[in-house]
């Protein structure tokens, strides 16, 4: 069901965790909240679930207003039909898996036969059929995560909230479960809010990504849009742009889109529109957009330097190049593109002007 937050504010004592936040999650959509630790992602979810009471604003799930600060509406969390998978899973260790998953249906006082059937269905969906009678304290992390998911799915929630459900798992399991989660969400047409601070997880799971900062949403868009056009250097940093340098227009006499890096002689030309950069602009270049060659490249943006660090990462190689009279640059080069360079090799680093973005350091929230 559609979930709508309007002007939600939440304070813990003096500190404001969420600041006049508004966002709409469409029916069947998967929205990912992405942001630094402490930016208010968990708090936002807890407001939707009803575990925290905002100081103001309105929350609507489907057609029901579940919270309205002005009219004093506050639907209890157990009446909201919101499913939530906690970061800690919160699987009850003193109950079997069956008892864990059957709990919401027992609360609804459904007939026993129906409960058994629905639990069996959902356990099959998450692949835990054989484990139904196991005690929940004996499960692995991945299994716990599935139990927590099954327990929320079985009650057919209006919206499913997932708070970093994969962050306690090892990398390979994480990759696999990520795909499974997305598949289940799309198959059931679930409305989902998903919290993470892992950018690749966000890109893989989202219909839309909302970037949070200091209790507010600073950019919200489809994954590929955000990836291609972050609206600030801070957001770009979050999405894996590791070359970010303060800069200033190169001054009279040079081309209009040319900038000089602050504190260096290096000049950078950008083809992307520099509108709205305001004061304190930043040069942002993705490491995979940097090319390393033996000779200077033709055109703008070719800088001499020397390889400082080489780090082999399997399908690609990550280099750190210190530019002559310039900063250090991160470059990611596909393994097969060139032979590996050694530490100390003189190289030319270059970047297409249309891969160079000039962004404001922060967008005003």
């Amino acid at each position: 069901m559609k979930v709508q937050l309007e002007n939600i504010t939440l304070a813990y004592g003096e500190a404001t965790a969420i600041d006049r936040l508004s966002v709409t999650v469409e029916d069947g959509e998967s929205l990912v909240l992405l942001g630094k630790s402490g930016c208010g992602k968990t708090s936002t979810m807890r407001c939707v679930a009803g575990l925290e009471t905002p100081t103001g604003g309105r929350i609507t799930i489907g057609d029901t207003v579940v919270f309205d600060g002005e009219r004093g509406v506050r639907v209890a969390p157990n009446k909201r039909n919101v499913g939530m998978v906690f970061q800690s899973y919160a699987v009850w260790p003193h109950r079997t898996i069956f008892q864990n998953v059957a709990f919401p249906l027992q609360q609804q006082r459904l007939p026993k036969a129906e409960i058994r059937e629905r639990v069996a269905d959902v356990l099959a969906l998450v692949g835990l059929t054989e484990y139904a009678e196991r005690g929940a304290s004996l499960l692995s992390g991945g299994q716990m995560q599935r139990v927590a998911l099954a327990r929320s799915l079985v009650m057919r929630p209006s919206v499913l909230l997932l708070d970093e459900p994969l962050s306690n798992l090892d990398a390979r399991l994480r990759d696999r479960l990520r795909v499974e989660l997305r598949e289940i969400q799309q198959r059931l047409g679930l409305t989902c809010v998903y919290v993470t601070h892992d950018q690749s997880e966000a890109l893989a799971l989202a219909d839309r990504i909302a970037l949070m900062q200091g209790g507010r949403i600073v950019q919200i868009d489809r994954p590929e849009k955000i990836y291609d056009a972050p609206s600030s250097a801070a957001i770009a940093d979050f999405l894996g742009v590791s070359n970010i340098f303060p800069c200033a227009p190169a001054g009279p006499g040079s081309a209009p889109a040319t900038y000089r890096l602050t504190g260096h002689a290096t000049e950078v030309t950008s083809d992307t529109p520099a509108a709205g950069t305001g004061k304190d602009p930043r040069v942002c270049i993705r490491p995979e957009d940097i090319r390393l060659t033996g000779e200077p490249a033709t055109g703008a943006n070719s800088w001499p330097g020397r390889v400082d660090v080489v780090s082999f990462q399997g399908s690609y190689v990550r280099y750190r190049v210190s530019l002559k009279d310039g900063p250090e640059l991160d470059a990611v080069v596909p393994r097969r593109a060139t032979r590996m360079l050694d530490v100390g090799t003189p190289v030319w680093a270059s970047a297409d002007p249309d891969a160079v973005q000039i962004l404001p350091a922060e967008v005003p929230a």
Binding site: A49, G50, L51, G72, R74, A76, P77, N78, R80, N81, V82, G83, M84, F86, Q87, S88, A90, W92, P93, H94, F103, P104, Q107, Q108, A148, R151, S152, M155
Partner: protein, 569 residues
């Protein structure tokens, strides 16, 4: 409108809890303060608000009062140093050395805890009274002309130290055996010798536990009444608690001056407890993870046997001799024993007196009262502590810091003082509570609130709040989530708190001292009464049975503890 209702509903539990704590802790303390500055004590129909002045504090001009202050500081100071030495020494031997019989060492370290200090003091006065003490009879019968006199300052200090050493043992043993071995191994790796590592790494890491327990013992011995009375009184050594008791029992009763002394005693304890709390807090940052890895043992070489012998000596002094003395005293047929030889004559010992006692109305009534008050205080105290801990740690209720503070406040109030305050409270309150077991239950609830609150809150903190929240999201009402998820997960912690309370209530004398009547005597009161009337045999027999009951509770607690460990696997 509905927001107002919500507010009231949310504020209600906190207000009820505050009210309860007010009646249990705050009002009694106010009565003490009032009486200390007034010329009459609270009594039915009057809270004693006349003639407010500082006159009562003039008692501190008397040599008796000053002597009591001095004695209290001297006794508590020396006893805590001695208890620390014994407790830490044993803890080090048991936790970190290859001394033989580690299980025995551990047992010796904690066993004296199950002898209430009242019983210990009584036993030692049987052993060490200069005229008829069993030890002296023994010494004389082997021809040695030495007389042990327990009724002396060193005697008082020794008895206190013997029975408070286990507190140091438990805390320091915990710190030493949970210490992360990485910390020590790092020191070895960086070239430290074993001795240097001990001195530079191990001991400093255990220091907060040592200091914390030292201050705790200082506070406990400072407020200890039974030992001060049983050992100190014959020696004419008054400490603050026994001085308060004597003022109250003087005729006419000098309650106002007793209150003034109580205020001073509480003041001292307040400072000491504040220091202790800080030491405990600091400890959180420093030591020890509970990783359960066994730290390395220090080889003692030729000191292994002497170390073991020292532990045995402590065990004999604190447990074996006292229990032996109690046993002989309760079995002997003639009230006066002039030499040990007398005891070996046929018919000198029999179970007759013990049998009489067990079936006597006095004993049965006291046992019933003791068990009843302990069980009720235990159940109510655990439930109350749960309410408090839940409100403090699981809700955003306004005033939860106040609740926590009030729950911990009795830590700084000596039991005998709190008892006095409760006496006056329930004399004034027009409810038929004074003179019933209810007032004793109230007293125990108040005195042991800090312990039970701590136990329950430690256990609630171990249960992740997400576990309960998820039950609510899955459709359960909050109360149902608590009963279906939170409480079952806290089961072990709650039951251990209940048993701890049972144990503490069974042992307690001081808090009940001013509150019992002839119908509501407890086992501890019965012992004290017998002793007070010079009926040593009765006192000894009841003590013996009393230790039996406490032992049973301890065993229950232990088997529960064992199950906890199994459950964790």
């Amino acid at each position: 409108m509905s927001t107002l209702l919500i507010r009231i509903r949310r504020g209600l539990p906190t207000s009820v809890l505050l009210l309860i704590l007010g009646v249990l802790v705050i009002v009694p303390m106010l009565f003490i303060a009032l009486a200390a500055f007034s010329s009459e004590t609270p009594r039915p129909g009057s809270i004693g608000l006349s003639g407010l002045s500082l006159d009562n504090f003039a008692i501190f001009g008397s040599s008796q009062a000053l002597g009591a202050v001095g004695n209290s500081l001297l006794v508590a100071g020396s006893a805590s140093v001695l208890a620390l030495a014994i407790g830490c020494g044993l803890a080090f031997l048991a936790a970190r050395t290859d001394t033989p019989g580690r299980r025995f060492l551990y047992f010796a370290g904690i066993a004296p805890m199950f002898l209430p200090s009242l019983v210990g003091a009584l036993a030692w006065s049987l052993l060490g009274s200069p005229a008829t003490g069993f030890l002296n009879l023994l010494l004389h019968s082997v021809g040695l002309n030495i007389t042990v006199n327990i009724y002396s300052m060193p005697g008082l200090i020794m008895v206190l130290a013997l029975y408070y050493a286990p507190y140091a043992f438990l805390l320091v043993h915990g710190a030493l055996s949970l210490m992360n071995p990485d910390l020590e191994e790092a020191a070895f790796v960086h070239g430290g010798t074993r001795r240097r590592t001990l001195r530079r790494v191990t001991f400093p890491l255990a220091l907060p536990a040592v200091l914390g327990s030292g201050i705790l013992i200082f506070a406990l011995t400072m407020e200890n009444f039974p030992v001060a009375q049983v050992i100190g009184n014959p020696a004419q050594i008054d400490t603050l608690p026994s001085f308060i008791y004597r003022l109250m029992n003087a005729s006419p009763s000098r309650g106002n001056e007793a209150a003034a002394v109580a205020i001073v005693l509480t003041g001292v304890l307040l400072i000491v407890t504040a220091i202790q709390q800080r030491a405990v807090l600091r400890r959180k940052f420093t030591t020890v993870t509970g990783k359960g890895v066994k730290p390395k043992k220090v080889p003692l070489g030729r000191w292994r046997l002497p170390a073991f012998a020292a532990a045995v000596l402590y065990f004999v002094l604190a447990v074996v001799l006292p229990l032996g003395a109690l046993l002989i005293a309760s079995l002997q047929n003639s009230p006066y024993v002039a030499s040990l030889g007398q005891l070996t004559e046929p018919g000198a010992l029999s179970f007759y007196a013990l049998g009489e006692l067990i079936t006597s109305d006095d004993f049965l009534q006291a046992a019933r009262n003791s068990v009843l008050t302990a069980v009720l205080a235990g159940l109510i105290g655990t439930a109350l502590s749960f309410g408090l801990a839940y409100t403090v740690y699981r809700t955003g209720a306004a005033g939860r810091r106040v609740l926590e503070f009030a729950a911990m406040a009795p830590l700084a109030v000596p039991a005998i003082v709190l008892g006095l305050g409760l006496l006056w409270t329930w004399l004034v309150v027009p409810l038929p509570v004074y003179g019933t077991v209810v007032v004793l239950i109230v007293a125990f609830l108040a005195v042991f609130l800090p312990q039970s609150y701590r136990g329950v809150s430690a256990s609630i903190l171990q249960v992740d709040r997400d576990l309960e929240d998820s039950a609510v999201l899955l459709g359960a009402h909050r109360t149902k989530a608590v009963t279906k998820v939170t409480l079952p997960l806290m089961r072990v912690g709650m039951v251990s708190t209940l048993l701890l309370l049972l144990m503490l209530c069974m042992r307690e004398l001081s808090a009940a001292l001013f509150l019992f009547t002839s119908d509501t005597r407890l086992l501890s009161i019965l012992i004290f009464d017998n002793y007070d009337n010079g009926a040593m045999q009765g006192a000894a027999s009841v003590s013996l049975l009393y230790c039996g009951v406490i032992g049973v509770i301890a065993l229950l607690a232990k088997s529960l503890g064992a199950r906890t460990v199994d459950g964790a696997r």
